[in-house]
């Protein structure tokens, strides 16, 4: 794929006065906007790169393929393709939530590309796997979450439409295209949720050689402390920092502390 196409496809934005690249990768359910407060701290000294995964934010949703994005590997490809398109080297990757694991997959594929991995609230496996692993969730919880997503989508009842459309090709092309586009969002979100919350990349952690910072929050309903400790134990060259911030989104709720933790680690 052409570099310029990738940049449009993933709605890539590059800014900052520095040359050293720092890439911020958003988590499930949001887009690059979530970084707005944290990135301002890095603009002076870094080349800041933010992007949206295909299917999220202002990405080109027509590029979405249920096959490619049926596992986190597809999202890791997005990340690698963005770095390739910008010809980045020695990248610092800041990944929130599921993007931490997407970063792990990308780093295991192309270790030379990454200088440091910074994980915010990572979890390699959300489901419990007794007796040795506590992820925090049961399969029923994930199913209930998917239901909740469905109930929360604006006009959720309507999005049966594209499936019916396949059989009756009555709608004109443009109309159909627009409908599919609108209607796809909940379907993409649902698949992303399934891929995220049912993922298990625990086996990948041991292979990571890139120096890694793990930012663990208190009271994180999605990635509990046990999980952060597990990630720390598995990745040889890693450092675990327990933040003052609580919740799963410290980059939004506590941007200053988040930026400071990252800066402190990078300064070493």
């Amino acid at each position: 794929m052409e570099g310029s196409t990738v940049l449009t496809r993933n709605h890539v934005r590059v800014f900052g006065k520095g040359t050293k690249p720092i890439v911020f990768a958003h988590g499930f359910g949001c887009d690059q906007q979530v970084w707005s407060e944290v990135v301002s701290v890095f603009e002076k000294e870094y080349q800041v790169i933010v992007f949206d995964y295909v299917g999220s934010g202002k990405s080109d949703k027509t590029a979405y393929s249920p096959t490619r994005y049926s596992s986190l590997e597809g999202y890791a490809l997005d990340l690698l393709e963005v770095c390739d398109a910008l010809e980045l080297e020695k990248v610092v990757l800041v990944g929130h939530s599921v993007s931490s694991m997407i970063g792990v997959l990308a780093a295991n594929k192309k270790a030379a590309l990454f200088e440091k991995l910074i994980m915010i609230g990572p979890s390699p496996c959300y489901l419990n796997d007794p007796p040795d692993y506590y992820g925090g969730f049961e399969k029923e919880d994930v199913d209930a979450l998917l239901n909740m997503m469905e109930k929360n989508y604006n006009g959720w009842a309507k999005y049966l439409a594209p499936i019916i459309m396949k059989n009756e090709e009555r709608t004109s092309l443009t109309e159909g295209f627009e409908q599919t586009l609108c209607a796809n969002d909940p379907i993409i979100a649902r698949q992303f949720a399934e891929v995220t919350f049912l993922s298990d990349v625990r086996d990948e952690l041991r292979k990571v050689t890139t120096p890694t910072l793990i930012l663990q929050m208190r009271d994180d309903a999605i990635a509990p402390v046990e999980v952060g400790e597990y990630v720390h134990a598995q990745i040889k060259n890693s450092r675990l920092v327990l933040m003052q911030a609580s919740g799963h989104n410290p980059h939004m709720s506590h941007p200053a502390e988040t930026a400071a933790c990252i800066q402190a680690y990078l300064a070493k």
Binding site: F28, V34, E138, A144, M148, L160, M252
Partner: protein
């Protein structure tokens, strides 16, 4: 909190930005079956079900921080006994977040039914699609089998009407065509002629060179005969070393010339293995001829050619 808000017909709750609950109205406490002191200073997570906590962290936190407002979010609360579906509105104001919770048990049941129906419909659609796809597969299989049969049939027909050694048509084909020519000659008075052609001294060829060479000679002759006829004519192998040609629209006057030409071309042609000549008996359709009468005149003529020394043409 004044009474109006305290007993308003919806749950009301205020929390710090870090998720710590500051106060809740009585309706909220009743909904959760809690006393006031049980909620104060608790984290908002403590009243959410597990999936709601996930949803809250994934969507509520980013939304409120970006827009300072969340409208109509569906969540489920956890009371001592049960899960309570609620619709939530929230705003961020003066560093705190204020919530309104509207219970929606009935509507939730209704929505669950809708979702179930939707799933069911999707399932049916998928089944229908799959069945349709299978049907299409079957149909295309049937079509290709049918095509195979048609091809096979054509091949069988070709085999039934061909002579395997020379590739010419066989006696059966000749008889069918002869019947057609006779009928046309009768109804439209179009004359036609036949040539019975026999290889001279073919036994000698076989005896001298062996049967395989004899077969090759017959094949070579077949090619030469095919070169002698027009598209509308017919050439066939009657059996052994005997061949027949039907000359369409050919009168008695013309047939001698053509027969003579054929004989000469065969006699003077170059042969790959051993040269042979042919004797020819010619006959032209006459009124009331049948296949038998016409063939027997040609046969008589052939006999005459043989008797008179071979490599010649006779006409009857």
């Amino acid at each position: 909190m004044d009474d109006q808000l305290n007993y308003a017909p919806c749950g009301y709750l205020v929390m710090q930005k870090d998720g710590r609950i500051m106060e809740a109205n009585q309706t909220m406490l009743d909904m959760l079956e809690l006393a006031g002191h049980e909620l104060a200073d608790q984290h908002i997570h403590s009243i959410l079900t597990v999936p709601s906590k996930m949803y809250y962290q994934t969507y509520f936190t980013p939304l409120i921080s970006m827009y300072q407002r969340v409208n109509e979010m569906y969540l489920t609360l956890r009371s001592r006994k049960e899960h309570i579906p609620v619709l939530v509105n929230a705003i961020e104001r003066e560093g705190r977040i204020e919530f309104v919770f509207m219970q929606m048990k009935l509507r939730d049941e209704y929505e669950n039914e809708l979702i179930w129906e939707k799933r069911h419909t999707e399932w049916i659609l998928q089944e229908t699609n799959e069945a349709y796809w299978k049907l299409q597969q079957l149909m295309s299989e049937l079509e290709s089998k049918k095509q195979e049969l048609v091809t096979l049939n054509a091949e069988l027909q070709e085999m039934a009407l061909s002579d395997p050694l020379t590739g010419l048509k066989n006696r059966r084909f000749f008889q069918e065509r002869m019947a057609a020519f006779l009928q046309q000659a009768e109804t439209e008075e179009v004359p036609f002629s036949i040539l019975l052609i026999d290889v001279d001294h073919f036994k000698k060829v076989n005896d001298t060179f062996g049967h395989p060479i004899g077969d090759l000679v017959l094949q070579e002759l077949a090619v030469k005969l095919e070169n002698e006829i027009r598209e509308e004519d017919v050439v066939a192998r009657m059996g052994g070393e005997e061949f027949v040609i039907i000359l369409s629209q050919t009168s008695a006057k013309k047939v001698r010339m053509i027969a003579e030409r054929v004989r000469k071309n065969i006699a003077y042609s170059v042969w790959a293995h051993t040269a042979v000549t042919v004797s020819i008996g010619a006959a032209t359709y006459e009124k009331d001829d049948t296949s038998i009468t016409l063939l027997s005149r040609a046969d008589g003529a052939l006999y005459q050619s043989k008797k008179e020394g071979r490599n010649r043409v006779s006409f009857q």
